[in-house]
Amino acid sequence: MKSLRRFLTRLLNSAARRAQEERLREEIEEHIALQTAENLRAGLLPVEARRQAMLKFGGVEAMKEVYRAERGLLLIENLLQDVRYAIRSLHRTPGLTAFVVMTLALGIGMTSGTFSMVDALIFRPYPVPHPSGVVTLVSTTHDSSFNNFSYREYLDIRDKTKSYDGVIANADIEAVGFSPETGATPRVKGGMMVSGNYFHLLGVEPRLGRGFREDEDQVPGRNAVVVLGPDFWKHEFGSNPSVLGRTIRLNGTEFTVIGVAPETFPGLLTFGHPDFYMPLAMAPVFSTNRQKNFFEDRDDRELNVKARLKPGTTLQQAQNELAVVAQNFEREYPKVNRGRGAAVHTQFEMRTRDDDVNWKFGVIFVILALAVLLVACTNVAGLLLSRARTRTREIAVRLAIGAGRFRLIRLLLTESLILASLGGLVGIAIGYGIVQWFQSFQNVIFMTDLPFSIPFRMDTRVLLASVGLSALSALLCGLVPALQSTRVDLVNGLKSADVDAPGRKRLWGRNVLVVAQVSTSLMLLTASFLMVRGFQHTLLEGTGFAKDHLLMTSFDPRLMQYNAAQTQQFYKLLVERVRKAPGVASEALTQNIPLGTDDFDGIAFVPEGFQMPRDRENFSSTMDTVDEGYFETMGIPILRGRGFLASDAADTPRVAIVNEKFAKHYWPGADAVGKHIRLDSRVGTLVEIVGVAQTIKYQNTFEPTDFVYMPLAQHPIARMTLMLRSSGDPLQLVQSVKDVVRALDPNLPMLHTMSYEDFYLNQAVNGPRIAMKLVGSMGVAGLLLAIAGLYGLVAYNVSRRTREIGIRIALGAARADVLRLVMGKGLALVGIGTLIGLAMGFGVEQLMNSMLFNAGGVDIVAYVIVVPSMLLVTMLAAYVPARRASQIAPTQALRYE
């Protein structure tokens, strides 16, 4: 208690130092005055009386020291003193300070901005209590390690495992026709089917009402209940609590609102935030796959399965248990489960999965940003070092009058800490700007009605990281100069303002800086150059089809409760009537658009005449369902065979068209036309391949992939997109399409109506373009920093040898010799840096190739451009001061300090 009180008063005293000092002075004065008066009374002469009084009082200064130590907190006061001093000395060189702060801010800002990305993509925990216990269960095959489970499989896993407190399942977010009341035209919203125990097991307490009960998820189609997502509730119902118990229509079926999820739970997905949740048992209302029965078919794998590990159960135990379950599946259902295993993954493992490029980009961005930060730090270290040199005498004086080396290092570190703090502050602002910049692409990237958003944000986690980075960079850029500049030879230091007793040890610091700078910036430049080229390459490569003059608009007749026959009748009439509209050159229907937001369906098949590996039941590929106008409308050439015809009907033999890659894959050297595949297995439906289409870009810009087309008439799909090729501006067709649709069904909504080119630019081009801008700006920032820093360091090194150069010339050295001597040193350092940088750049290239572009090989052009330009810059940096030095008159140089 007593010590605490003393501590607090001392803290206060530290703040009110001046007043205290004044008080003590006054007290001493008074004391001595009283003593003097006393002495006078005792008969001493005035002068002697005062002298005696002061003698008796003792050493004032020594006492004051004790008094001060007693009064305040020495450590804090020293720190404040350091801070004050540092600020004063930084204030004295405002230009340098500003430059250093901006340099650090650039590095810190870029890193924290990109870290916000990696944090959202990889590290941010699930927004539920005890998120680390939540694991994901996946089904694995030869082709894919992250498959979903079917409903039946989910039930078995739930009932046969003991490692978990519970097992939950959810389907993907899917487009659902939502109308707040009967009669209103449905709008597309994103709903997610979840198991009855979903909210309960995750520990999510509803904001309002309740979550699902387990019994609401047992009988198919019985309990039409819905839980709203927080954002949806806010925007659609104005956060009105009376929404509970209300009836809304989803895909035409009435659902009762029973609860609202809390703000803190936007869902478990990184990008998507469901507008509402429905029980799995209501699948008949939402199921997209008419070919399969959600509740019965064990190979209708639509469910993402998660579980909460029991406390004390390890991942390995859960893994072993699940492996047994998977083996049983394989034994009991060989037809659909052959070669299929299962695995348990943590959130981190799921987010860093191999087949996801997003996080890889994030990580590469952070690495590049850290390289910028490193260059910035070496830059600042170099500057501080040369600044410290000019302070050699000051430091020597301080050491000479008894300052401890540690105390001086602390002072210098305080300076760099202040610089880094300022840099960190500006850096956080820059990082915030970068996050905002990411956010501004929200509508550009997600051109969809579904609730997706960019999850990057500047939160406490990112702020903490930025603070950590600032501290780290303070240490990085401050330590070497502080250590070096306090290792002063006192005698020389006092004699001259600038000592360069040429001890080898003292030079290594600057040499290391030069090498580090050259190599890091070279790596940075190589990496960003490679990435920009990679993106450009994939963008320039083209997509393989004609993107211009295309209007797209989607329909989902299920939103109006059409049955399968009505749906196909609608599409038939739609195409027939739209064809007659003025300005329509050709028209087509497709299940998915190329490079669109939705994933293509998969197809399992056995190719005819292909030697199946022993352990495989079938192969898989992506596929699309299209009508007979598709290839013409999209401008995709049919290389061999024919396109689909109106004669390929439901009652004629099944046909398919494959892409060239598929054909070469399974029938190399032979003509694929006329060959057959069987669907699902050796005994499945026989499908004849009637044509080979040119391979185009389907899902993203980094692929060629196998692809199969099925005719709509033989493979009916409910949700289709109409593509119209126009002779003029595609958007001018919108009205005629609207008229046609209104005549068919005035209530049926048209979804995602836009020009395909606009969509393509936003969807497929902007992502890479944003990445290119980001990477490019990092490369440029790194290069500029490196040039500035390098020039400074090399030039400084040379200019310090001015006197030596003068002596050499006075003794008869030729200017050329001197030039060679001076530049040789710089070039050697640059050479070493280049070698290291090349090695690092090569490593990064390998990394990027393996992670992203799958291209392999070395991009020679990058090195051919980058390396010589770096060499040129450094040579220039060495040459200019060397030349100046060699031209100085010896007499002047000798006096040079």
Binding site: E30, L34, Q35, K56, G58, G59
Partner: protein, 115 residues
Amino acid sequence: MKQKTDVLQGTLALMVLKTLDVLGPQHGYGIARRIEQISGDLLAVNQGTLYPVLLKLEQEGAISSEWGASENNRRARFYRLTREGRKQLQVETQDWQQTAAIIGRFFEVKAEDLS
């Protein structure tokens, strides 16, 4: 030497408290003189050392201080014992007496008493 000042500081604090207890509010010089009168040469030189002790006691809350007028009508800092200080004085006096008694007995002990 160093040790001696440490001891001095401890005893000095107790003397300050006692002085204030007996004489009421006093300024620094007053306290110094009292102590000098009673303890002889302990404070004959280095009266200044009193001030850090006063500060420490004040920070601990044993004494408080305020400005007042000294005998020759100048501004002086007057120290007074607080209630807490009085308690502290009591405790420390007891402790001191106990210690002194024990130490005293030790000094009185002769070799034959221990055998």
